[in-house]
Symmetry: D2
Subunit: 286 residues, 4 copies
């Protein structure tokens, strides 16, 4: 399976290949790395087995990403990102806990384990406030609560979900931010850049998947420091960081351990996949 002594073998683990995975594969090859594509949906993964020099974890399913990373790490393989990073980023409570602990700003956030404690928690919030579960992508189930009738309906719906995690609530202060947030991408110790994601009419959330448009965001020292620190606390090698801007400061909101970057790439012209490939090469040579 190995080539010459110097060949770098990179495994790219995926479930449904997106544009991102194709670009990464192409760039890795450009730098003469050997790429092995592993579809985790049909390939069993044995604990303790070493499959490559480095494994890039790029599944859409969060659990598959965590498990794929963990199995590869058990064989001593370096993973990007590692299972701990993917885990921490995959759960908003875990991310916010780490972010808050090191003193970065987060919107005031209260965790409620179910309906009863969510009812108690909302008394300390003025409307509108944000309600969301700890897991989920693309803004799904993230709701702006403006009146008690809607709140009651959301509580009922959440109680009916079969996932225990989706029945847990994070209540957050709503940061008035002109319907936009900031997304930055970090590779290694470099912030590649940042964009605004501006939500479209009739939608307050700023996820690209919900129709938001990217726009240029100038970097400043405070922003850069927050981004670097957020990536550090989750021990991330290749992550995106989402921030909100309000009251003259930045709030870290989420970190993503398997970042999509199509929108970012289009808005900034930055070749993210190339940066990832260069990072992989430098890490293996360390």
């Amino acid at each position: 399976m190995n080539g010459s002594a110097d060949t770098v073998n990179v495994e790219l683990l995926y479930d449904y290949p997106r544009l991102e995975e194709k670009l990464i594969m192409e760039r890795l090859k450009r730098y003469d790395m050997r790429v092995m594509m592993t579809n985790v949906n049909n390939r069993p993964l044995q604990l303790g087995e070493k499959a490559s020099d480095i494994s890039l974890i790029r599944t859409i399913s969060m659990y598959k990403a965590i498990y794929a990373a963990a199995v590869r790490e058990s064989g001593g393989t370096y993973t990007v990102n590692n299972s701990e990073t993917i885990l921490l980023c995959g759960d908003k409570i875990l991310t916010l806990s780490r972010i808050k602990k090191v003193g970065l700003n987060i919107p005031r956030s209260v965790v409620a384990m179910g309906k009863e404690s969510a009812e108690a928690a909302q008394k300390s919030f003025k409307k509108p406030f944000v309600d969301k579960p700890p897991i989920g992508s693309w803004g799904r189930l993230v709701t702006l609560i403006s009146d008690p009738i809607v709140w009651r309906s959301i509580l009922e719906h959440r109680e009916m979900l079969s996932s225990q995690q989706l029945r847990v609530h994070i209540l957050q202060d709503y940061i008035e931010g002109e319907g936009r947030d900031i997304r930055a991408i970090v590779v290694g110790e470099n912030v590649l850049g940042a964009i605004y994601r501006v939500s479209t009419a009739g939608e307050w959330r700023s996820n690209i998947a919900l129709g938001s448009k990217p726009a240029y965001k100038k970097m400043d020292p405070e922003l850069k420091e927050a981004i670097i620190k957020a990536a550090e606390v989750v021990n991330g090698a290749f992550v995106s960081v989402d921030l909100l801007e309000g009251d003259g400061t930045y709030y870290v909101n989420e970190v993503n351990g398997v970042p999509e970057f199509k929108g970012f790439m289009e808005a900034t012209g930055i070749d993210v996949a190339d940066e990832v490939a260069k990072f992989v090469r430098s890490e293996v040579r360390k």
Copy 2:
């Protein structure tokens, strides 16, 4: 909320109080610590808030345990166990990955993300083999697969489960061990002792919840080293370690981050809650 400068304030977070929680509370008080009982089902938990000197995490629900620990850590509180330990122990793939990485024995284990890859994985196992999901307690869904008709039925049932994690398979070599396993309890850096759990007639699994009987197990240096190392790799302060005995060696099988200890206590006469209370006191005074 605080007493004199010297009073140690301990928070015990729970959902359904068992004998174990009552004993811990009683022992903490015996050593003059102030105990605050927090029912996570009706008390909201705010990120960044400091509620006590130390928080003991004792919910039955794994997710509530992880979230309770993470929220308390965000306020700078020392937690037993911490969220990372509970997370790693709560998922068998994450536990086995860490255990295997440091060179401890585990039964040969293959991870399959779904039906298709499970079908491929089973070809490398001779029957009977063990099939189980990464999450779950008390041996639930852990199945001994002896023939292809049963295997197919288990695959079908697993595909119908709504939890993504429960649709992931761990296939493992079956360690012929006379239907018993070993459970040890670790507090701080001390192994308190170990017991056999001997399964009853008509049941191959050795979980106490499935009717197993505890029996004395003599400690030996090899066993002790495996236990200590297993607790270390998950960074556990108060954990139980499950091992299998076979082929003249020990295999680490699971580590539990919120250990039940009623059966252990009855079989060994060791006052586990007292050991926990003493550990808490010594940690706070550090």
Copy 3:
């Protein structure tokens, strides 16, 4: 199992006995019927077996009610209600279909099988409109949709539910009715009476379980005819009928095949259980 030739044997099938079940049992005994209580959670039911002269189906779980009735019918036992009635009443689409077919008024209702068709359906409604799934009791998940942000959030939540039926939408015109509906109870061919259920502050739904207060409702010929006809189209022997009042007419909204009647009894003073017992006796003697 049988007593004298004349003894009437009545089986009451239940899962969690409420006040209603206790009252029915007591009244049946008062009329010298022999009552056998069957807890369907621990008693297996064999198809084709005859257990009594008549079986009263009183489980809280709709599916257990349907199955209990169907098994008893397979042995030739007369059931109140029969499995067809419980089925039709247990699903709002099936109820509305029958009601509409015979020409009774219903709020304009559109069925959408999922998110995409719900989006299309809402274009024909002016806000606020009502959105609900076909199954469920006590008003659960019934939502008044007033703005597009809430609508999107409800659509997302519904898509995440694991039950196929709960992912189906019924969109309905909102009948402005001063926050109250009408509940009537029918036993055999008699309408026992009717009450208003008046919703409390901050809640637009009028379910008793959501805090509504019962109030006297005078019967009139148009109302009575609608009630009788609604009970007939589902072939009900003992049902409650819910109606809305608006635009000078009555709209049938739901029929319940295992009716609760505690609130009705308190508001009207009518001994519903006694009426049921007399009906049972007369049916067996036919």
Copy 4:
């Protein structure tokens, strides 16, 4: 939307079109009927609306079939099959109840509402016996129980399913039938024919979806009578009937209200779609 006074308008409601739906559409057109294809996944269906002279219900999803039929019936449209037939056939307990009630043979069957009552029920069965949930197609979750370890595992898996119906058990005597069953198709009052479905090596179930091979089955008067009667008790216009052969007699096992017929067509050479088209034409002209 209508053509000349004599044109027959047929609506075919589907979700994922299979070969069967394409063939039916083609044959309807051959007989000069106008066919309207309705994809229920994106078309909302309004209660009380009349869309055609006759609606053929051909969705793969059972619930969508029931709801599509019910909505069309509310507008006075004749449906094949009607909602009652699809409902009764879609649930094995309801089917068996009707079949048993009219005196047809079924394998001895016991219904258990959960784990506790299933444990009690199995005591009256000798092994192997069959365990299955009331809903589901293609033999899914139908398990042959041969030993107590497997039985316990199946009980545990079933308890974890989020659907209430899938947690209900039907226990049945296993009819030793050389691993084959009989499938017949009925259109109107005619039995078109019957085939054996012979299960493949390593699979005891005889569903075509599980690899069974079709084989010719000669009709006899006893078989024909059972088939006709089974179709009648569910009020079916176009159904398939599954039977088991053993102990010198036939047992009715299932009736399907939205029958697939590709395998039947290939094995018998009978043009099922043509028969359906002729039936539709004759019904509309009545």
